[in-house]
């Protein structure tokens, strides 16, 4: 019988306890647990995730612990991706608050979610960043994401024209 809580070591050498249920929402930790049955006492090292970010991830997991497992759904989505328009609206109110954070944190969570393989969180973060990109002019995007403008004027002129072609009429 495995214990109810699992300890992990983050990149900044902190040991954090989390419940088994939450840990199993991460496919990465889950497979590690399955690989090392009996070695429960040892803390699982997570060298790519900082404690600050991990706490955020646990927050999310706590809120979504009762959600139906997204695995099946995601598989279906992947299969049908080509024929389905992607919808990036975030429906959950709690999620909306959750993503309301600094960009650096968002990206860190995204990377952590990718590393830990938490499907729902990963998708949420992708959607959020996509929403941030939506409806903005290139200048606004650059400002929002602190991107350096390394395109020449000619490139931009070409882009503007292309943009004119795909611009939606209101």
């Amino acid at each position: 019988m495995a214990s109810e809580s699992i300890s992990v070591t983050t990149s900044d050498d902190q040991t954090i306890q989390l419940s088994r249920k939450h840990a199993q929402m991460s496919q990465t930790i889950n497979s590690m647990l399955e690989d090392s049955v009996g070695a429960d006492q040892e803390a699982i090292p997570l060298p790519n995730v900082s404690s600050e970010v991990l706490k955020k991830v646990i927050d999310w997991c706590t809120h979504h612990e009762n959600d139906p497992a997204p695995v099946e759904k995601v598989k279906k989505l992947n299969k049908k991706r080509e024929y389905k328009a992607k919808n990036s609206t975030i429906s959950d109110e709690w999620d909306k608050n959750f993503v309301n954070a600094e960009l650096r944190v968002i990206v860190d969570i995204l990377l952590a979610a990718n590393y830990l393989d938490v499907k729902g969180l990963f998708e949420l973060m992708c959607k959020h960043i996509a929403n941030e990109l939506k409806g903005k002019t290139p200048d606004q995007i650059r400002e929002r994401f602190g991107i350096q403008d390394d395109l020449t004027e000619e490139d931009k002129a070409a882009m503007r024209k292309a943009w004119g072609a795909t611009k939606n009429d209101s």
Binding site: R81, E82, Y83, K84, A85, K86, S88, L103, R104, I106, V107, L110, L111, N114, C126, K127, I129, A130, N131, L133, K134, G135, K136, T137, P138, I141, R142, F145, G146, I147, Q148, D149, D150, L151, D155, K156, M159, R160, K161, A162, W163, G164, A165, T166, K167, N168, D169, S170
Partner: protein
Amino acid sequence: MSELINIPSEILYLILSFLDAPDLTRASATCHHLRKMAIKSWLWKQLCVSQWRDQFSSPIIVNTIRDSYATLDVDFWRRYYIQKYLLDLRQGTLTWTPVSLNQAAAGGSRLSPRFAHSGTVFGDRIIYIGGQLTSKHRHNDIFQYDTLKGKISLSRVRGNPPNISKHTAAIIGGIIYVFGGYDGLSARYELFSYDPVDNQWSTPKTFGECPTSRSNHCCAVLGGKMYIFGGLYRGQEEELIDSNDLYYLDTDTMTWHRPTVRGDIPEPRCGQKMVTVDNEIYMFGGGNGDSWSKKFNDVHVFHTHTNTWEKLITRGQPPDSTTFASVWSFGRFLFVFGGGRLSDTTAVSNDLFALDTVTRHWNRQKVEGDPPTPRDDSTTNIVGDTVYLMHGYKSGPIDEFWSIRMSGNFYRSVCGRDPPKKTLREHTNSPMLTFSPVLRNIGIKLFSPLLSRKDVQPINTTHPDLHQTHLLLHLFFTCLLCLFLGFSDPSQSPDDNLFHIQSDSCLQLAREITVLTTIGYGDRTSITSNIAPANPKGVQRRWRIPIRIPSIRKPPQLVRWDLLGVFLSFLWGAVNSRTLPPFFRVWVYRAWAYLFKVNLDEVPIPLEEFNTLRDFFSRPIKQGCSPVDAKVVSCGEVTQDLVTEVKGISYSISGFLGKDWETIKAGINSKLYHCVLYLAPGDYHRIHSPEQWLITGRRHFPGTLFPIAPSVGRLIPNLLALNERVALLGSRPDQGFYSLTAVGAYNVGSMSFKFDPAIRTNAVVRDWRNPNLRYFSMRGVGTYAYRMDYSHPIKADKGEEIGLFNLGSTVVLIFESRDFEFAVKTGDKVRMGQLLGKDL
């Protein structure tokens, strides 16, 4: 460095896959990294699939969409998406434009009515060979149409082209190869070649098995080879045989080949067309049998690398045209115009269909503008961004020359570069040098005594001496005009616009003089008779002034009306920007005011203060003038929401301006005024801007269309807020909120606005698919609006025309002002431009 760029590519792709096309394009314009990612083919492929799910839905179709498209061209799916988007969902991608052959007058000749000719593109020119007027009368002339100059000229051919029609022509390596054809009597032809540079017509020597001479076949060029398919030929016993054999001429070795073909070999046919799309030959239409017992509208593809025919399984609405259609391809699309109808064997079509060669989906293609006469046996050639459609057949040869303009965006998405700039300005687009009715009347009055004199006869221009007189007159006027040009030195004027205006008029002048000189010299009668039929409706001839004197049709040429026009309009430009001497000014402005009924009382400063006539035109009047000719139904300050007038109309402002009123009301910090102007059916129906203001948005309220006459207004309270109306909202510099609302009425639903073609009022079918329909019907009628906020506010200058009613109706002005004094009162008749009142 940005956090976004640190994200691994595969995650970034996932993020980007949530974006739609405009967002993706914008994202790609931020930096190199994102750009590289955002033009990735599969992102766009996914967008295509989700946008046109019905066309991509069948698994067969999706499987046949080979990804080789994307391996050859990394940008393929993005460009394809844009092409499809423009053709399917955007308006104005293709526009029918009549090509005016009036330009032929500028030193060209005319292509007589004909059909079954051939057209081949050579550089900027299209070479038209042969064709026929009747079955026995066939042409042996070769014309070239210069698309830059818009001029058709007859080539002086060396060698002896026969009377030929129903042939095919294709250009390979600068040489046009003409194959097949018939002279209508006895002679049938095989291969000719024509060099468009030397104008040399010759019969090349070929090797191999030359196909039997035939007509109504089709040809296409791929990789230096000319492919010939099908057609009609005479067998040994002079019987007519439809064929389905395929030959090609290798022009490197001048050898004919007859490949062994496999696959779904098409039925024997004639009257079909072939074009090349992406290294494959597409064949469309045709028919066979006695009196076209069988007609086809199917598409076959010939894969040249395997010599295989494939019958395309197409979906969507196949074209209702079969034989002798005009077929061309642009980008990934195959276009089919005209041709004999499938549904009605005697009729010809003027519909345009487009086949998407990726999804194999037929669509009826939307084209802006009026379509041309239905026809078949026409030629289509693409030069730059224009498809030229020359002549054709509709129960007789026709001589209408049309073109389809492709929008710059569409051209760019296919060719990856900007459309070539044309030096030629079409007659329909160029600003016309026309006379105002006032000027014309003055002209008629001044010159009518001269015109009615019996001794001034219309000049026979064939008389040599008169030519001399003309030349002298031309020279004289030219010199005069050049003098004027020399006088007005742009550097003296601080106004930058001046120079542009003059260089523009220079150009126009030069063109005018060329045209006139040529006309003066040519045989006038023959030119007019030549031009007249080629003049499509709606295209005005500029240099003719209509003079309503029945006895003399044309003005005598001694008075050069045309030059007078140039001269006056030029004088105009020259005078109105020149600084006038002060003593002179008052008189000039008075005269102007008299002519155009300017109310000098409105001018706030002394007339001498205006330096130039132009300053006077744009005189800074601080007061509001009437936007229309109308009767003032009600005007005054608005003190409460419900505006009531004893005799006129009552309405509530909040109901009238709808939901926006709340926000507007919050922004108003001085007094509010209103003015209701009723247009009787006989009044002038254009709406001009009453003030200089910025239009920031419009609200279109669909509603009822009750008569608005004051008598009805009394019966239905709040009538103005029920009827269909378009409110333009904006602001005036330093006075605040300003709005102009055009209210429709019984019989008068249709209004149009110059700057906003999207407004469609009085639509009989009122967007039944609109999810918000319930807001626009029954109880909500007149309360909810289609909103539109302009991203760039539209600047309306005082007096500028902004729209029109098609019959009488009502204009309501509601505006904010610190203090406004109306110069009119209820019941007054006002004219357009008349003073309504002024800001104090």
